[in-house]
Symmetry: C2
Subunit: 337 residues, 2 copies
Amino acid sequence: MNILIDGMGGDHAPEEIVKGAVQAAKEIPHTVSIIGQEERIKECLSEMNWNGDNIEVINATEVISNNESPAMAVRKKKDSSIAKGMRLLKEGEVDAFISGGSTGALLSAGLLILGRIKGIKRPAIAAFFPKIGMNDTSLILDCGANAEAKPEYLQQYGIMGSIFVSNVKGVENPEVMLLNVGAEDEKGDTTHKEAFELLQNSDINFKGNCEGRDVPFGCCDVVVTDGFSGNVFLKTAEGVAMAVMKRIKQKMTEGVMAKAGALLSYNKLKEIKKEFDYSEEGGAPILGLKGPVLKIHGSSKANAVYNAILKAVPYVEQDVTHLIESAIQSKAGEEEA
Amino acid sequence: MNILIDGMGGDHAPEEIVKGAVQAAKEIPHTVSIIGQEERIKECLSEMNWNGDNIEVINATEVISNNESPAMAVRKKKDSSIAKGMRLLKEGEVDAFISGGSTGALLSAGLLILGRIKGIKRPAIAAFFPKIGMNDTSLILDCGANAEAKPEYLQQYGIMGSIFVSNVKGVENPEVMLLNVGAEDEKGDTTHKEAFELLQNSDINFKGNCEGRDVPFGCCDVVVTDGFSGNVFLKTAEGVAMAVMKRIKQKMTEGVMAKAGALLSYNKLKEIKKEFDYSEEGGAPILGLKGPVLKIHGSSKANAVYNAILKAVPYVEQDVTHLIESAIQSKAGEEEA
């Protein structure tokens, strides 16, 4: 197996990317390839005294930044790490592609170069959100690949999410819920009401509607949401968790007693902060593309890179891409019959 | 001025409602009327040894529960606190109506009995969300009155929110932002892109798009959102804040040192919990109806009731309903011209 990572994507590239790749390459019996400006990447490798044989460096001279128009950048910069990386995945030279670069560019490259699985209307970005205190995560999708939503997209998100979680995480018969404005069956706008019906009639373990407040408490394994609400969900969760932590820090230093208290429980607070940091969870699979693609947070450090590479292994091994293809095609067959 | 409160609405009615009403009546030079089952309310008043003259009790024999179909309940139960209360507001017998009962029923009664301001497409539920650490709030609307959204609704939410915040809270030239999936101007689905244009061309201080993570940090005074995302925003914020607090409590009791730390900072944590509790903020105005209506949380205790009554006073005094009417009509006039 050959897992490719974008050496140029993210705020701490290439140093932290290379660090994470080395960490992973030491542990797994697979090749980890790093794509990007060869010299810089090799420099990082030699600084880390890497002398193993399962890291390969692939040269790509161009870099796509966050400020460029994604589709245009992918078309123009054919020798960028994202465009070339996606081409290598399409050609079967590598088995998975991970990037912390521009989400838009990665998605565009996925659509333009790799392509959608036959029958999939829209690929979806799936993020792992912590089930607080349960040492587990929910998969929430779509988190913003598509701002527009149709009921059939949401149904496919449910099917793809369910296949991913059961095969990659090994959850038997994963529970799927629809993020809505209330728990009752008939809640929501027309799109979500129709999506509810479609999900109920799908071959998945659909458990009905859930609300934003239920997700952190681990209400289910797969949360289906339109890309707009999913994005609002993730960013709100991030903002509120940050705001609470910030206030605790401020408040804890008010007064002598509180200061003493804070000193004693400082480590505990740090642990909690980490629990809520979904960027550590090892990358968001973009489901529905013709191959395993994972997006990692732009702020990813070595540990997040390492986690993403480890997550890519079962994604490839279980051949999730083909499982999704089969599920969608057997569904299409049923509908024709 | 006569402010009417629903004595039967909410989990702690009528006891906590009456308590909050008494607390407010002692402070303001206005009449506070309580509508509901007369005997029970009078019992509560005498238990509280109330002997002032600015509380009136209005009998309404029926109660609408959360489990009933809102529109049907409002039509059938003409002598319910919600239906009768709304009628009294329409007839000018009272100047504002506050309820902690079924949101759906209150909204239905608002639409069916009181009616919309001329030109307003959809009334919106506006909630006060804490600007963390700033001892201030943002007004966020719509929080779920309308699951479906059209660009013109969003524009009107911005205008109504701006008028409310500048007149009731006294914020000069309040900053308005649109909750979207990114900060850049061209973000979002078709509805939000069009809403962005409309808001930019409105006579308000529109500052562009914001994201869920910006709101807790107090990015603006008025957050415009479609009812679906707004509801996801509020419930996610609630869930994440609760989850963080719960984890802190759990973690703080692990190990002797942490326990000691927790004891010392217990009061500080309680203060923070209160900061994030938007239900304390004194009710959510339902803007766009032909009169001041406020929804308070079903779990409201006396203090939230008291805050809502106090908030209703400037809402009536500043005649926000007519200010909204004028703004919408002058906008309609401009468009015709």
